[in-house]
């Protein structure tokens, strides 16, 4: 029973990583850039939801919608101001810009909301599910996160494979130049990708803080890095891969802490990543890379 309860805790943490990883993988898969500011957009989303609920008295759903709207606009703005001018630059330049953007967002949040941490209010009205006569408890936030993960994964997969815009995204991902020749507006497509990624970040922010209710300007950074690890683990660019990678990472982290050592929890996570990448360089569900000679 202790094992089961650890497993549930692992899935709970993993589902949070998964939902963040979905945003990472989406942007990477299409724009071919690592948006290191993703974790900080999550933090902004959580702050907006917090303000909406605490200060303006909005109901949870409306708070989420407001956070999604603000994050979408923020994502598009960041893309237009910081990343678009670097479209032709080396990937290293874009990466450094993204890291800079991450610090900018963190410090702006520090300026606006202050350094004092805030405890996120309970927004998810789903009750804790108890099994085996109370020996195993699954929190409502965990259930909602897992359901949200599955829905988002299915919707994203359908969107990219069935709709015209989604197909355009895949074209841009495959060959930007050829897509442009075929009449696809590459800039709009990439902006749209950022809009979707940032909108997902708002959802992830609310779910992250509902499960682990501590909100401060650095809240997004470590889960962001872990989720990035999860995305690489599952095969970056692959939507189901992000989900599986996230959940596995969470389970490994919790079980490692519970049965090996709390001190080595994070070390175990990253050691597993290294081993997976040595055996399967493209991640669990990543497409095998063909060497062009």
């Amino acid at each position: 029973m202790v094992f089961l309860s650890n497993l549930v805790n692992g899935i709970s943490l993993g589902s949070i990583y998964a939902i963040i990883a979905l945003g990472y993988t989406m942007v990477y898969g299409i724009a071919k850039m690592l948006n290191f500011a993703h974790g900080d957009i999550i933090m902004v989303g959580a702050y907006i939801a917090y303000c909406a609920a605490q200060y303006w008295g909005f109901p949870p759903i409306l708070s989420l919608v407001v956070a999604m709207a603000v994050c979408t606009i923020l994502g598009i703005t960041i893309e237009k101001l910081a990343y678009k001018p670097l479209r032709q630059a080396t990937s290293l330049a874009v990466l450094i810009t993204a890291i800079g953007m991450s610090y900018l967002l963190q410090n702006l949040a520090l300026l606006i909301w202050g350094a004092n941490p805030k405890v996120f209010p309970a927004m998810i009205g789903v009750d804790t599910l108890t099994l085996f006569s109370g020996q195993l408890a699954i929190r409502g936030a965990t259930i909602v996160t897992i359901v949200a993960n599955i829905i988002i994964m299915i919707v994203l997969t359908l969107f990219t494979s069935r709709t015209k815009l989604g197909k355009a995204m895949r074209c841009v991902s495959e060959d930007r130049g050829a897509a442009e020749l075929m009449g696809i507006n590459v800039n709009t497509t990439i902006s749209l990708t950022f809009a979707i990624g940032s909108c997902l970040a708002a959802v992830a922010g609310l779910l992250l803080c509902s499960s682990y209710p501590m909100l401060m300007p650095t809240t997004g950074s470590m889960p962001g890095i872990k989720a990035f690890t999860a995305a690489v683990f599952g095969g970056i660019g692959s939507i189901p891969g992000a989900m599986i990678g996230g959940i596995l990472l969470g389970v490994i982290e919790i079980l490692g802490k519970a049965y090996i050592s709390t001190e080595l929890g994070d070390a175990i996570v990253f050691a597993v990543l290294i081993i997976v990448l040595l055996v399967r360089p493209t991640g669990l569900l990543g497409k095998p890379m063909r060497e062009k000679v």
Binding site: N9, V119, P213, E253
Partner: protein
């Protein structure tokens, strides 16, 4: 023409005489270093604000002492802290209040030791801060002091029989307290049944709390800051685990944590030198001013920094410091003065030993009805 020249000379003489007469007034230039951006910003902002209130009070009291507080941000980074220190020294600082956090304080302390600059830290509580440096003094308790005092209180009052400890192994403060707590607890024959750790990046505390519960601990010792402590309280509540929680000075602040359900902190015990709810005039005056200026209740960091500035002024008077004295010329006199003075401030009545550690009495408090009260009341 000569008359005019004589007049001018006479005037100049008069002015310079006045300047000499005014020289008994003391203007102290004190530099403050602490993190005001980044993850530890809350502590540096608190110490700066506390120090600023003290500096303004002393200056406004109009009894011949003017305190000029210079401020630098170190973002809780040792290298930035050295830069901050150099900037302050270039600006003419005569002594330092700082650094707020331990790691930067150790780094700056070494430089200040070599350059003979007197430092009084409000809150860097590791023994490494003062070790082998005669110029660094503390206003806060040292970590060992807190750890062994906590073990003694728990044992004396029989607050728990099986003890779990959850500490931050990435933090010198938390690890320092844990080690002395463990040593003292073993001496006293106390039973530590579970020891788990976390780091600053930890989001999930379920494993640590479950381990304490499964080991049957009836008291959980939390030598950590209040932010992770609040998460531990929430995680324990989620699984219906209700031991006695015992914290140290870092626990102060948990009641004012925005959005935190303070009823979860009911019954939490802590050792702390300062509580904002105390009813003495000094505390009430400080808390009122701080709340008016910054819109929040001051924590013990702010109180420690406030005491720092008063202590420095007191020591400077005893040491016979003059306005404009260079930092390296007054350092030794300040060190000698620190060992003579006794200062009563917000955090109690303090004296200092030659190794720079403060002596004051920690009070055991318990949270009852959303307020700190003495354990005996």
């Amino acid at each position: 023409m000569k008359k005019i020249l004589a007049l001018v000379l006479a005037l100049a003489l008069a002015v310079s005489m006045m300047a000499v007469a005014g020289a008994e007034d003391l203007t102290l230039k004190i530099g403050h270093i602490g993190p005001q951006t980044g993850a530890a910003a809350v502590y540096g902002l608190a110490t700066y604000r506390g120090a600023l209130i003290a500096a303004e009070e002393i200056t406004a009291a109009d009894n011949g002492v003017t305190v000029e507080l210079l401020n630098q941000d170190d973002a809780h980074d040792a290298e930035k802290s050295i830069t901050a220190y150099n900037t302050l020294m270039d600006a003419g600082a005569q002594m330092i209040v700082g650094c707020t956090t331990t790691a930067p304080c150790i780094a700056v302390g070494a430089t200040a030791y070599a350059e003979r600059v007197f430092m009084l830290t409000p809150s860097a509580s590791s023994t490494d801060v003062t070790a082998n440096k005669d110029n660094v003094y503390q206003v806060c308790f040292t970590d060992p002091n807190q750890g062994s005092a906590s073990a003694a209180v728990i044992n004396e009052r029989k607050l728990g029989t099986k003890i779990a400890v959850i500490y931050n192994n990435a933090d010198a403060y938390s690890t320092g307290i844990y080690q002395t707590f463990k040593a003292r607890a073993e001496e006293l024959g106390m039973d530590i049944v579970s020891t788990t750790t976390f780091t600053d990046e930890t989001t999930d505390f379920s494993v640590q709390v479950a381990d304490a519960q499964n080991s049957g601990a009836d008291l959980v010792f939390l030598p950590i800051y209040y932010t992770p402590a609040s998460q531990i309280l929430i995680a324990a509540n989620a699984i219906g685990y209700e031991p006695t929680f015992f914290g140290v000075d870092g626990m102060d602040g948990i009641l004012t944590l925005e959005g935190f359900d303070a009823s979860l902190a009911e019954g939490v015990m802590l050792l702390t030198p300062f509580v904002a709810d105390a009813k003495d005039d000094l505390t009430v005056n400080f808390v009122t001013k701080y709340t008016e200026l910054y819109g929040e209740v001051p924590n013990q960091f702010a109180a420690d920094a406030y005491d720092c500035v008063y202590t420095l002024v007191e020591a400077a008077k005893v040491a016979g410091v003059k306005s404009g004295d260079a930092a390296e010329d007054i350092c030794d006199a300040m060190i000698a003065a620190m060992q003579q003075i006794e200062v009563t401030g917000l955090t109690g009545t303090m004296t200092w030993s030659a190794n720079g550690e403060v002596e004051k009495v920690p009070t055991a408090m318990i949270i009852r009805d959303g307020a700190y009260v003495g354990l005996d009341s």
